[in-house]
């Protein structure tokens, strides 16, 4: 057994690769960032590990001074999909259905465009192959797969120059044998094979095909990447890979089911937020300072505003799971954290359209050239507006490492000002207001559309650009509290550190709701057993394994399902859930159990963190001076604080700007803020 291995969370982002290191020997948490190396993402990872573990242990496979458990989220699989740079993939389907992957649901993404733009299908027509077989909705075989057809398939594939094959036959979740026969032959022939009955044994053929094809398309890419990474890391360190469901998994599993790792970075952020929210309301903190009790059982709206996009999600006790994600035009129906992304961020470009409206985004200046104030671009962005308004003190940006060019930001905004006959400052306020309107709408989608009133929630802001907007957004949404955690910009990597080991299983069964509970139990048993086995293989101790069983249920004839926790009273719970979510229940209606779900969780104790004692209300030690900041109501002389120097117990009256190396936080004259025992900043938002 290793003694006290370090735990390291690593998140590769577009610009930076973030590292969070927890040392159990002293309960210390350390974070740092390195520039990402997009061409070979593992380079930055290995460089960081060298810094953490010392050169020796990495490069020479000798006994290291410290061993490490590394949990890693990468954008390798995501980028392969977004940039359409995955493996050449063939698709095998039931006779007559090779085009399901392209027809999809027959609908178009944009209603009001005469020219329909569709991303190319991951499998071009010439790589779609059919086999003569058919199974019906009760699992009966209408046409048996003939061995000679399988032989022919192997021959046809030889000419196609592919190395990855997806197989998706109709109703294969009821009768997986045909897919398995094909899979076995193709694996023998050396292909990487993804079978739909293994990846997603659920009904709805297009979504199952798409999920399976994405897996076939990105798996070889992730496989190669993980091999390079494992080689560099050495065998004595344990590597785990983050999945989009918020849990981690071994590289062996990840390379087989790479589709589960798409969107793992944002998932890390949400897990990090969940941890922060739990800590911030923990009894320890309340004991330290009973007067400052955080809202109990805190639900949070997470708000991660970056340079080009903003991710929002909702945590009401637990993060929400969705099985209906679409990434880059491809449905991915495995369970993943419900995160809504919009194309607006600090780098979004402002312009005046022909009708005379001030528009922000969706075009972005990105990281290159970046906002005008970074010194290379000329187009006005949200960040430039913040700079012009005095909200980002140029000399403190990124800890002073990157001076900002205010004049350039002003120059970039001037043409807009001229067009609209406004001052540059008025335009800058307008750009912020419009950007906030975008983000407010995204936050409404993730809360209101999910049946939750945003006013009940705390807005948890992380990511580089969010701190300047969070208080105003909260005001607009009627939210009373904003929470900015101390690890705001490395929260994704931190979340990975706190992530549990998770395996999800599902199977469409389409049983009547009257099915005896014993039968449901016995149908759930094989899935549960698979979960147990998989976690034991992952090295999870038996007592740390925790199984969640759920049923997808609906009234017969409906086309959508509710997730019902499995228990003796699952029927009644279904009726109740239906009533709360949809306003009515039909207790005499026929109910269907559509799909069984099992989630096997290997609990990982999160890094323990202790609340620090409060050290006075006066934030004077962090005071850096005052500067003029422009608010809609006018210019205010606004005190500036160094975030890293604020201590638990500090109270701040707005207006104030808090600068940290990784982010800047702003709140207005009717707001006040305090620092809790974990150095979380709570902003109480006024009118």
């Amino acid at each position: 057994m290793r003694t006290n291995p370090l735990r390291i969370g690593i998140d590769i982002g577009g610009t930076f690769t973030d590292f969070v290191v927890f040392d159990p020997a002293n309960n210390r948490l350390k974070t740092f960032k390195l520039l990402s190396t997009p061409q070979e993402p593992e380079k930055a990872v290995l460089e960081g590990l060298e810094i953490i573990l010392g050169k020796q242990s990495i490069s020479e496979n000798t006994t290291a001074s410290r061993k490490a458990n590394i949990i890693h989220g990468s954008t390798v699989a995501t980028n392969a999909l977004l940039e359409r740079k995955g493996a050449m993939t063939a698709l095998v389907t039931t006779q007559g259905f090779q085009d399901v992957i392209q027809i999809g649901r027959q609908n178009r993404a944009e209603l009001y465009q005469l020219f329909i733009h569709q991303l190319p299908s991951l499998v071009p027509p010439e790589l779609r192959l059919e086999v003569d077989e058919r199974v019906d909705h009760e699992g009966n075989i209408l046409a048996t797969l003939q061995p000679v057809d399988v032989d022919n398939l192997v021959v046809r594939l030889q000419d196609l120059q592919v190395n990855s094959v997806a197989v998706c036959l109709l109703f294969s979740f009821l009768h997986p044998e045909h897919e398995q026969i094909i899979g076995e032959r193709l694996r023998q022939a050396g292909y990487a094979v993804s079978l739909s009955a293994e990846i997603l044994p659920e009904f709805r053929e297009y979504e199952r095909t798409s999920t399976t094809v994405v897996n076939a398309y990105v798996s070889p890419i992730l496989d190669r990447y993980l091999s390079r990474l494992e080689e560099g890391i050495g065998q004595e360190n344990n590597l785990m890979v983050m999945q989009s469901n918020g849990g981690s998994i071994s590289p062996a599993e990840a390379r087989r089911e790479a589709v589960r790792c798409i969107l793992s970075g944002p998932a890390g952020g949400v897990v990090g937020c969940e941890y922060v929210a739990r800590m911030a309301t923990s009894p320890a903190d309340i004991r330290t300072h009973p007067g400052d009790q955080a809202p109990s059982g805190m639900g949070v709206l997470t708000f991660d505003m970056g340079g080009t996009s903003t991710d929002v999600s909702l945590i009401d006790g637990k993060p929400r799971i969705t099985t209906e994600a679409v990434v880059s035009g491809c449905p991915i129906h495995i369970p993943l954290l419900d995160i809504h992304t919009i194309g607006a961020g600090g780098g979004s470009i402002a312009q005046v359209d022909p009708g005379g409206a001030l528009r922000v985004g969706p075009e972005s200046a990105g990281a290159d050239p970046g906002p005008a104030c970074y010194g290379r671009g000329d187009l006005p962005t949200v960040t430039d507006a913040n700079v012009v308004l005095g909200r980002i003190p140029p000399e403190h940006f990124l800890g002073g490492r990157m001076p900002l060019d205010i004049d350039r930001a002003t120059t970039a905004l001037e043409p807009l000002a001229k067009t609209l006959h406004l001052s540059v400052e008025e335009i800058a306020l307008g750009v912020i207001a419009v950007a906030n309107a975008h983000m407010e709408r995204a936050l409404r989608v993730i809360s209101v559309e999910r049946g939750c009133d945003p006013r009940r929630f705390t807005l948890l802001s992380f990511g580089g650009a969010g701190g300047l907007h969070a208080a105003d957004l909260a005001r607009g949404l009627g939210i009373s509290t904003v929470l900015v955690p101390p690890l705001a910009s490395t929260l994704s990597a931190f979340g990975m550190l706190a992530a549990e080991v998770i395996k999800d299983y599902s199977l469409t069964v389409m049983l009547p709701g009257t099915t005896p509970i014993a039968e449901l139990r016995s149908r759930l048993e094989p899935l549960t057993e698979r979960g147990h086995t998989a976690l034991r293989v992952e090295g999870v101790e038996e007592q740390a394994i925790h199984i969640e069983q759920t049923l997808d249920m609906r009234y017969q004839g409906q086309s959508y399902e509710l997730l019902v926790p499995f228990s003796d009273s699952f029927l009644e719970i279904f009726h109740q859930l239906h009533e709360t979510q949809y306003g009515y229940a039909k207790r005499n209606g026929t109910v269907e159990v559509v799909t069984l779900r099992v989630r096997a969780v290997g609990e990982v104790p999160p890094p323990p963190q202790e609340a620090e004692e409060y050290d006075g209300e006066d934030p004077g030690k962090a005071y850096l001076g005052a500067r003029d900041v422009i608010f809609p109501q006018g210019t205010l002389r606004t005190p500036l604080f160094r975030g890293e120097l604020l201590v638990p117990g500090n109270q701040l009256q707005g207006p104030a700007v808090i600068v940290r190396t990784d982010t800047t936080i702003l709140f207005g004259s009717s707001d006040r803020a305090r620092v809790d025992g974990y150095k979380n900043l709570f902003i109480e938002v006024g009118k």
């Binding site: 609908n107 559309e449 409906q558």
Partner: protein, 534 residues
Amino acid sequence: MSFEAIKLEIFKHLFAAVAEEMGTVLRKSSYSPNIKERRDFSCAVFDTSGQMVAQAAHIPVHLGAMPLSVKAAVEWFGDDLQPGDLVMLNDPFQGGTHLPDITMVSPVFLMGSGNAPIAFCASRAHHADVGGMTPGSMPVAREIYQEGLIIPPVKLVRGWKMDTDLLRLILANVRTPEERSGDLQAQMAANRRGMERMAELVGRYGLEEVNEAMRQLLMYTERMTRSLLHSLPDGSYLFEDRLDNDGISQEEVPIRVRVTITGESATVDFSGSAPQQQGSVNAVEAITLSAVHYVFRCLLGTEVPNNAGCLRPIRVIAPAGSVVNALPPAAVAGGNVETSQRIVDCLLGALAQACPEKVPAASQGTMNNVTIGGGLPRRAGENGETRRGQFAYYETIGGGSGAGSGTDGVPAIHTHMTNTLNTPIEALEYAYPLRIRRYEIRRGSGGEGKQRGGDGIVREIEVLTDCQVTLLTERRETAPYGLEGGQAGQCGENLLIRNGETSQLPGKGGFELKAGDVLRILTPGGGGYGVKSP
């Protein structure tokens, strides 16, 4: 402070969010697959004078039609609209389009603002059955009375209290009352949410500012339309296309449009189109307005709010009693789903003469409506189940989209006035005595050209029990046109395969099928663009 520039953009989001939130509530709380899965519904917000301020992007055919619903409600009830009232209607000749589309209109009142509504919220949903001669209420009928229950503007809710007698009357006239009741409840919930949000907006910004924002937003879209029209060359552009037939006679039904652009305004004149027909292909004026709105909305670009401003600079002439402005008691079920597509084809054909680079060739020009109903051999979906233990299944099938300058058409997709989703094969076979034998791209059916038209679809449905099929399809005889020398897309075909023998079925009509019969539908390809180099 320049109101237009900044507040315009902010209120654009705010109003759109209200309409979208209504849509979310409707979809989540509705019962039928047609609303929940196929998303055949729309929600919108209107100003005090009934002009549409924002519409959630759901179904284009509802675009120009919703305002007439609000107008009909206001005209009928006048000053008698009170807080807590909700007006329901589906009468195509009084604010509706075709009978399955039921619209609910709610006036929004402000406490202490007197008797005048400050805004209206409306929702419209396609209900799977509203009675009439065949399940699904999309028959090939000769007059509207055969098509289902006609609801003129009536108050379903009066001062927050629902008229349960009225509801019972409606439910007694439809085949799936429980589902209808659930979907009507969902629409009411959507309207309530819209009213709440509008009241909140007024609370946050004040009535004056909200009113001003509405006014400015309409002017904004109007300006955008004017600037679009200004960019088009002045002139008069005539185009004629036709429907195959009305399903009763075999005569072609011509539709003619003359688009005249003069500076910043336009006239769209349908004079010369065929008179209204015996069959159900008649479009009421609302459909024609929707098609005009849709086409100009598309030319505007994506970010413009859907509101009444778009049509302000455009004068639409649709002669009463014609196939594009039918009068009672015309049958209209197909006007909404088929004729609307042809009106778009005509408009695009005319505009292609003004701006060939901005307009694609004809898309498939039909929705390929297939309704299958019959006795149930075994358990089937409760939704489709009728009072007599029967099932009714309705689907539309995509086809090819038209090619344009520099862009090939897209295969196998819904185009123009519809965007409903298909029902997954594995879901359908669980629920109905049907088996899909083939669902693939109809290769080679798109029109040739420098840019190729998109291909249609081949879909084979085997019926596992004796049943009745209603087809309401177009472009079986008149092909989707190409542009600039591009070839036309191939026509669609409806075939019946019985005991290995294939025979042709007409484009419109009702047919008895026997267990084991296969219905083979080939949908049209899109037109090509430009001359293909040899």
